[in-house]
Amino acid sequence: MSQATTSWSRIRFQDVSPFLPPIIGLAIGAIAWEIAGRLEVSYVLPPFTDIVSNTWDVWRSEAFRSAALESLESLAIAWPLSIGLGLVVGLLMGRYRLVEWMLDLYVNIFLSLPLIALIPIILLLFGLSQTSMIVIVFLYTFFVVVVNTSAGVRSVESNFEEMARSFGANEARILWRVIIPGALPLALTGVRIATGRAFKGVIIGEQLVRFIGLGGLIQRYGGAFRVEDLWALIFAVGLSGLIAMQLVQLVENFAEKRLPRGRRTSQ
């Protein structure tokens, strides 16, 4: 028995292809779903093959396209805004003790607070407007970027800064040449997590506030018990979030190559 376990653990699928293990995982999930669907376990679980064939039709429908565009518009405004501001505030918080003291409390509150609790307030403030959407997405993403960036800044060894100072570096040069490159890997991890959360924020916002976009469509199909169409929307949102996070991962990998983890210290 133990012999068998050992030889199993020796098989390394990633040696064959890095894509193989996730594909096998997906296949097992799809088969299990298909079986559950054929057995009619629940009406919310139609057979997987039915959903897949329907998904393509939904994705090509006019309703889906205009809804997706609306969702993307909110993302396109809120994402750069919150990432940009998050990086700057994170840098300031990680670098300057006074800023950290002032803002740390807010960051921690917003990270632990269920943001749904804030939605009535946002509604009262901005109504059923796009501003509400942007605020919601912002709240979902901004603080994650702040926390990770400031952790990244603090992870830069003081040795490097001291070395730079010994060559007469001013604060601007220390920031640009030492702190920012040193903080980059952790900051980018924050950006990646925040990117995933931005999709969450958009859908939740659209469901609760605006009833437009993919979130609005989800509400409508849900209310009409259009289960198969509902799954098509969920796949679309899940897939695009995944792709967006992978894109950030590519940037991360590039930075990581330049800055291998564990080599960041001066040995």
Binding site: N159, F160, E162, M163, A164, R165, S166, F167, G168, A169, R173, R177, V178, P181, G182, R258, L259, P260, R263, R264, T265, S266, Q267
Partner: protein
């Protein structure tokens, strides 16, 4: 000339009592002189060097360089660090140009000087390598090239060869002597090794701890240029033996004291 006058530094220990890292240290280092400071852990030798470098402040006392008071880092000084402190995210060339760039030169201007220093420390062909691709000895060559690139009058070296193996250390010492001989910069060299101190230096300052102070200063009259056979010189053996005697006493006097290096 570097002058240290009455340098005192006290640290508050965990139990609340004062630890005299340095007490009333006076020292003069002449232009073009190679001076080593040797002493047991916790004698404040690294703190002293950091003060000359402008990275640490004394509680009392003053440091003058050519009559000007030291208030911080300055263009006439450059430090070679014990742990190299190379930026891991840039290659050898960019590490060497770093000091010049911090002083306001453009990368393009800095490159030419950097290339000259990279050749001088024997790293030609490694310009595009990243620090983690280099051995410890080569990394310290980058550290040395970075310091030399800003053309300082004074080179401050904090146990620069402490973390490389014995053979590499020997080679680095010889290369350092060769480079020093070319330009005769003033060098303050912190070390734990009496052989290294005697082999390299014009003078050796021996420190003791509790309180940290300079207990003895030796002139080294070994003829230059020196090479490995200088170690067979009678003066070399008698001096290293004598310094070891002093250090041994210091080590035996008290076992465990806070270390600043």
């Amino acid at each position: 000339m570097i002058e240290l006058k009455g340098i005192t530094k006290t640290f508050r220990q965990r139990d609340g009592s004062a630890f005299h890292a340095l007490k009333d240290v006076d020292l003069k280092v002449l232009d073009g002189e190679f001076l080593s400071i040797i002493g047991p852990s916790g004698c404040g030798k690294t703190t002293l060097m950091r003060m000359v470098g402008g990275l640490a402040k004394a509680d009392a006392g003053e440091i003058f360089i050519d009559g000007r008071r030291v208030n911080g880092p300055g263009p006439e000084r450059a430090i070679v660090f014990q742990n190299f402190v190379l930026l891991p995210w840039v290659d050898v060339t960019s590490n060497v140009t770093f000091g010049l760039e911090m002083r306001g030169l453009s990368k393009k201007e800095a490159r030419k000087t950097a290339q000259k220093e990279i050749e001088r420390v024997g790293l030609t062909g490694f310009e595009g390598h990243y620090p983690h691709e280099l051995s410890g000895g080569m990394q310290q060559r980058v550290g040395l090239a970075r310091a030399l690139a800003v053309n300082p009058e004074i080179l401050l070296m904090d146990e620069p060869f402490a973390s490389v193996d014995a053979q590499t250390r020997q080679i680095l010492q010889d290369d350092l002597i060769r480079i020093w001989q070319e330009e005769r910069k003033t060098v303050i060299f912190i070390t734990h090794s009496m052989e290294e101190a005697v082999y390299l230096s014009d003078r050796v300052a021996v420190m003791e701890r509790g309180p940290g102070r300079i207990s003895e200063l030796f002139d080294i009259h070994l003829p230059r240029p020196r090479d490995y056979s200088s170690r067979n010189d009678v003066e070399f053996t008698s001096l290293t033996t004598h310094i070891w005697g002093l250090l041994k006493t210091a080590y035996e006097k008290d076992g465990d004291v806070p270390s600043d290096d």
